[in-house]
């Protein structure tokens, strides 16, 4: 059964591959969602942190691999500059869980591969499913494709707490 709303806290490990105008980028990440915001660590396969993003409300901050704050502002612009491709972080915290951001217009459809979501100018395809959330996502926008594989979900929903 899928989730219907964003849990209070979740943590998931994943890998991301971006294809931007024929060029590629690959990294591992850990996404942590807490009540007051999200923290995303981008890591090399050996687990070394290459950068950290923090989202709180509409504020986005990026720390480089030395831990120094590089800039703050819009996350898509920030990641485009720091990583070379835009990470749609505002929507992603919902998309990772197979949900749409309820505060922004969205539309759902289906194809042979799975469910499709249109939101924030992105086409999101969900394939494979673990118990509660998708295991694969493909995000598409003109000239850009981002593939995400997820594993090891830790979801903390208040309603299932003892």
């Amino acid at each position: 059964m899928g989730l219907t709303s964003l849990p209070e806290r979740f943590e998931v490990d994943g890998r991301i591959a971006a294809k931007v105008d024929g060029e590629g980028y690959q990294a591992n990440f850990v996404w942590r969602h807490l009540q007051d915001g999200d923290a995303i660590d981008v890591q090399s396969p050996l687990g070394l942190t290459l950068g950290r993003m923090e989202l709180q409300g509409s504020t986005a901050r990026f720390f480089d691999r030395h831990g120094a704050l590089r800039a703050d502002g819009d996350m898509e612009r920030l990641t485009a500059r720091e990583l070379g491709w835009p990470l749609p972080a505002a929507g992603l915290r919902y998309w990772l869980l197979g949900l749409a951001d309820p505060d922004s217009p969205s539309s759902w459809s289906e194809n042979s591969e799975g469910r499709l979501l249109s939101q924030y100018g992105w086409q999101v395809e969900f394939t494979g499913a673990q118990n509660e959330a998708p295991s694969r996502l493909i995000l598409r926008r003109e000239g850009l494709e981002v593939r995400i594989a997820l594993h090891d979900w830790r979801i903390d929903t208040p309603s299932i707490k003892p």
Binding site: R15, K19, L46, G47, A149, D152
Partner: protein
């Protein structure tokens, strides 16, 4: 007290009877290992520990190294991921994402553990080496990067019986990666083709930005 000749030669005999590895310090073990090991084969297990004490990430796989500059680092758990250094390029292949990313080896691996093990003999050129401690038979060596441009703050290398046994890496976000090497073979004969990467059918091959 002055030792009598007999006593002192007895002492000397006992002293020299101790196997070299038992008192060769970590730095010396590491230096002679780097000098002698032209190739390397091992299994590894990896634990990544977050600063905030969340559940550690566990992984494992195999690695082969042909120095200088060639290596194949294969993750089997918790997912498949392959890193091949062919001497000039680094290939990263993730089967689940069906993507291969290729980039120049020097810019991507300048200071990674793979580069450290696969790199030149002269560790002291890039790292300040210092004996740290001996724990459970492993002699630990602190390697502090001389360049500040490093992704990690501190590397610790663990030596046992003259071979690499473990590595501990601390990054700038307070995260620790511990790699344990098992079944280490020094100077095995390795097939050259494992250091060449042939992209699998159906995978996108892309240059890094």
């Amino acid at each position: 007290m002055q030792l009598k000749p007999l006593a002192s030669s007895l002492l000397a005999a006992i002293w020299f009877a101790i196997p070299a590895s038992a008192f060769a310090d970590g730095v010396n073990q590491l230096k002679s290992f780097m000098e002698n090991a032209r190739s390397l084969k091992a299994d590894f297990s990896q634990t990544v520990i977050q600063k905030n004490g969340k559940k550690p990430q566990e992984g494992s796989g195999t690695l082969t190294i042909q120095r200088p500059g060639k290596f194949r680092w294969t993750y089997r758990k918790p997912y498949e991921q392959l890193l091949v250094g062919d001497g000039t390029k680094l290939w990263v292949y993730d089967p689940d994402l069906a993507q291969v990313t290729v980039k120049k080896l020097d810019e991507s691996l300048g200071n990674s553990p793979a580069a450290l093990l696969a790199g030149s003999n002269d560790l002291e050129k890039s790292y300040q080496l210092r004996n740290h401690s001996e724990i459970d038979g492993i002699a630990w060596v602190d390697a502090s990067p001389k360049q500040k441009e490093n992704t990690f703050e501190q590397i610790r290398l663990g030596m046992k019986d003259g071979k690499i046994a473990a590595m501990e890496l601390h990054d700038n976000f307070g995260q620790t990666t511990l790699i344990r090497f098992n079944n280490v073979e020094v100077n095995p004969k390795l097939n050259a083709d494992q250091f060449q990467f042939t992209p699998p059918k159906g995978a996108d091959v892309l240059g890094d930005r």
